[in-house]
Symmetry: C2
Subunit: 357 residues, 2 copies
């Protein structure tokens, strides 16, 4: 197959989407052969992928590969695209764990299957059916990711070089997710602990490891791996901190979640840990009454937002993001990276922390 | 490393256990390095593996390999052992989906983490924390399986030959699990549909695919693959049917579950579908009042057991098991399999359907 190399992020994203859809269409055909009962599974998997966004992990993996200077191919693109399916698993399971009803403005998977249970008048608990389906669809996405990588058409040697990074990324994701649920369950907040969760849950999983995975596909040396860590770890933390801010201040039309959704969910973020260190007792009481309140009104969201601003917590997190971005930028400037890939990594730095593409 | 080949099942099982424990000890060291918060995860993973039983999937994979006549090695043993961790994932997630409180006589993972939440007086819902932890530990087991396979030390060529079987097995497991939860939610019973669930959930996943995986590791030809299907598919269905019987008639001390637990859980099995076809309306009413009854007393279990016997449903399933076993046996007799492996497969036939080792 003829493959024209590109370092244009939108073009790569379109190619990634195409490969993902081809793969899923093929797998769905197989599911439908097993039984028509699996039709809703196939449809939900495809819709979830179509609805989704930035493909950050495939982009970092592919650009990480380009940075090695090795000639790219459609096979490498497919291997990079496979990372998106790990993320599909993470999101589906995350929504069950957080009991989130929506994802990108649409019902989350467990809610969609709960609705199907009700609509088809199935027996037993609709709630439990939805959760079970979401666990299985997430598991399936995790398995599909590996299958897509294995079938990508890359050579055995290339695959074997990249598998350790691939495995590391997945272990760190699950470890980071556990650190997160444990942190959520602790009564007291700590900036330090929240930063560690951000490092494992996002820093490594979203940016550093995808870059390493791409680099390993391209046969990178240890120096490039180190440069990618120096760029990826701070950028990943900045990405998570931006997510924290959007969870409180984000526009529902952009986030697909209600305003101040992290408050409603009672999410323990770095931003929250900071405001708790800075707030006085009446401000703390105001925040505590909002945290985990399922019926939170916009007026109360706005009141809490004001506390994040007046205490300086918001600007502290913004400053931290800037510092982390500078550190990632400097790693990029000093690293030996193929020039077109370097330009793309600069663009990704903005995309990852501004959260638009 | 010096490796003495054996086809003794107990010896292989001990070697499999040793490899699993080595792998998990190593991974747990890494988890503890990430953070002491992960201590309970590490402990739960190890305990779950230690508590568990028959290692059927590693045994079938290893014997499937021996059947090719290729010289075995500790690396192959490790690759076969990796299948057990897929099963750990399946069991952990299954217990969440079935809301089962116990597994092999001990609290299931979500119950154990729920208890930890209560004991440590953590905040938020203990129930939800337990479920989240069990989802993540299952995910981790699924990833560990792949990592154990990738790191087994088998050559790249061998690995690449076996990956398609490995992936197929995992996709079929997840598809079979969904068929199962969907079947559970349907108001009406069907023997045919229940048999299909048994085929995907157990037939392929427990026996046929592990044999294929082992065969692929050994570079088997298509004929041996076919023999393994002819042996493995009926045997796998027989295995599931035996499980159905144990779910109603099993001794709690052997199953690690309360007497008649499948009734309490309202499980839709082939056995149940058969009794529903044969029972009169008062018998059906008796069964329906037991199904899903969390406070089921032993007297009522015994009454329902009697209906399974008097209607002939139990003996129909026993007859079906015998027919399936004969069919597996005949495949074995006619297949070209390395002689020592053939003997082991005969033993496994008994073990898989009598459920003791």
């Amino acid at each position: 197959m003829n493959f024209s190399a590109t370092s244009d992020l939108k073009e790569i994203r379109n190619l990634v989407n195409q490969e993902l859809l081809n793969f899923v269409a093929n797998e769905n055909k197989y599911l439908n052969e097993i039984g028509s009962e699996l039709g809703p599974v196939a449809m939900a998997m495809e819709r979830f992928l179509l609805d989704s966004g930035k493909r950050l992990r495939p982009l970092f993996a592919y650009i990480g590969f380009l940075g090695t200077g090795t000639k790219p191919s459609v096979e490498i693109l497919r291997a990079a695209a496979a990372l998106e399916l790990i993320h599909v698993c993470a999101l589906m399971h995350d929504d069950v764990m957080d009991a989130s009803d929506t994802r990108r403005g649409a019902p989350s998977i467990h809610k969609a299957f709960e609705a199907m249970h009700i609509e088809k008048k199935l027996s037993g608990s609709a709630d439990q059916f939805g959760i079970s389906a979401a666990i299985l669809l997430g598991d399936l996405a995790l398995v599909w990711s590996a299958k897509m990588l294995h079938q990508s058409g890359i050579s055995g040697d290339t695959l074997i070089r990249a598998l350790p990074m691939y495995d590391e990324m997945r272990v760190e994701l699950m470890a980071g997710q556990y650190l997160d649920i444990y942190e959520q369950a602790l009564a007291t907040q700590s900036v330090e602990r929240s930063l560690k969760v951000a490092r494992y849950k996002s820093g490594k999983y979203t940016i550093e490891r995808p870059l390493h995975f791409g680099a390993a596909l391209g046969g990178a040396n240890q120096e490039l791996m180190k440069t990618y860590s120096d760029y990826g770890l701070p950028l990943g933390e900045a990405f998570q901190l931006r997510d924290d801010i959007l969870g409180i201040f984000g526009n529902p039309q952009e986030t697909g979640k209600p305003a101040g959704d992290d408050l409603r969910e009672g999410k323990r973020t770095v931003l929250l840990a900071m405001v708790m260190e800075l707030a006085d007792s009446s401000q703390k009481a105001e925040i505590n009454s909002a945290l985990g309140n399922q019926n939170l009104e916009l007026a109360q969201v706005n009141k809490v937002r004001e506390i994040f601003e007046s205490t300086g917590a918001l600007s502290q997190v913004e400053n931290l993001i800037s510092t982390l971005i500078s550190s990632a930028q400097s790693a990029l400037e000093h690293g030996e990276i193929e020039p077109l890939a370097k330009v793309a990594l600069e663009q990704l730095l903005t995309i990852a922390t501004q959260r638009t593409l």
